[in-house]
Amino acid sequence: MRAARDAYGEVLVELGKENADIVVLDADLSSSTKTSVFAKAFPDRFFNMGIAEANMMGVAAGLASAGKIPFASTFAVFATGRVYDQIRQSIAYAGFNVKIVATHGGLTVGPDGATHQALEDVALMRVLPGMTVIVPSDAEETKQAVRAAAGHVGPVYIRLGREAVPDVFPAGATFEIGKGNMFLPGISREQVIAAPPSTLEFDVSFIACGVMVKECLDASALLEAEGIKASVAGFASIKPFDADLCLALARQSRLVVAAEEHSVVGGLGGAVCECLAENYPARVLRIGVLDRFGESGSGRELLEAYGLTGPSIARKAKAALR
């Protein structure tokens, strides 16, 4: 169990040691986003911009224009919707090498309520040309994703959660921008793509990101107990989207379930539907927040209330298979 944001703080320091061009900006939330760890290690390369996110994004773009690799962090609501135009005009249009790493994404922000629960951030970032969008499933995948983002030239949005989450990233697996990973069963992405049609015979294939990977693993266990064969793929890289793996899974399955801690509009579920509708029309069930705002509660209570836990997902998948 570890919070992805703790892993973010650690990997930032590692990257800071390896590359003097890495700089970090925050908007008065460094103790929550964990950029404070970098600030302590590299005070000269850390810029607290105060409660002024629009300026932070512009300053990050200016730093990038002069060859720096800026990581700009705050909560996901403030890192996207609040500064959408700054990201669009100053960063994405110019193609600047800015890494936006947002924490406190999704419902599991918890008691702070709807104002602080970003449920639209992935949709907003996904629609921007040239933007890479990553939602890692746990601490290990976060570390790898942040490293990959630092090595990628171009703007990147990474969304992390607030709470500690179980370690689910398969041992020995590698995160790559544009590629998903198989979390269940124990076969690789390449094996799924290479498998002849209808040989794997999954009843249901889960395509999930963030904390929903763990919930889908739980749902799979419940389904397997009832003799329903399931696979779980982690699509941390929402954009670029792993169309090869998505299509291969659809060809091997009776049902595809896309699951995310985000609105069902415009996020991972949207990407899955776009891919399949155009290339291989298949039955898709979207699990996410149904076009509504969140509310206060514990992360667990909220996931349960919004139907985003393993048992609820298993029930819905079973009903859809009938």
Partner: protein, 290 residues
Amino acid sequence: MWKLQSEMEGGGPSIEYVEEMASRLRYHIIRMVGAAGSGHPGGSLSSSDIVAALYFGGILRVDPRNPLWSDRDRFVLSKGHAAPVLYAALAEKGFFPVDVLLTLRKMGSPLQGHPDCKKVAGVEVSTGSLGQGLSLAVGMALAGRLDKKDYKVWALLGDGECQEGQVWEAAMSAAHYKLDNLRVIVDHNHLQIDGPVEKVMSVEPIAEKFSAFGWETVSVDGHSVRELLEAFRRPSAGKPLAIIAETVKGKGVKFMEGVAGWHGKAPQGEELDRALAEVTMREKAEERGQ
């Protein structure tokens, strides 16, 4: 032909030379906007002396043969709608052929309606959504300090643009980080699309605002090359410098001067002929004076 290096005096370019270049920029602006059939002549003309002083007054250290030279000074046109004046200056400076100017706003042209840094050498950042350029300039200034470079970062803002809150977020951060390598020029032409800035949403007292935010400030006549160059050459005072340049919107074309309607409208037909006659006459008069 237009004189370039030959105009230089011992201590740098002469005031007359910079004034000639400003006239030349105005001539290009009217020709470009006229050919495009759309664009923003008013705020381009009000900025012409400022931009000419920066690019041709020995202020900006840039090299058209090496546009990404890491030691270059950076110029950010935050009021991106004044793209024609920037394009004209870059073309005259040799970043791209002058002929290209007449493709402004046309399909396939690198000269987009608002500056695109991916398409035009010498354009540092993409601007057009107002209020964002000063933040970009702050980032460049921070990078220059980190890299121990001595380059300066210049940002040209409109006065109406100062209604955007982000300008003040950026102003606060520039003073907080004591960015004495950063200089802002406000093209204070007193007009915006809907009318006088004073009536739409007053930004006064603008110099005092920057001063209260922790900046060094100076007010100049934005059409006096001598005053502009003096302000531009001021030594750093350990904090960012804001130069409030009093200007006239549409300066150089009599019927456009002080008329808000010429913010974003291209002169066409007889109006274009009249505008061209004014800027061309000026140019010819100067040529005769050579």
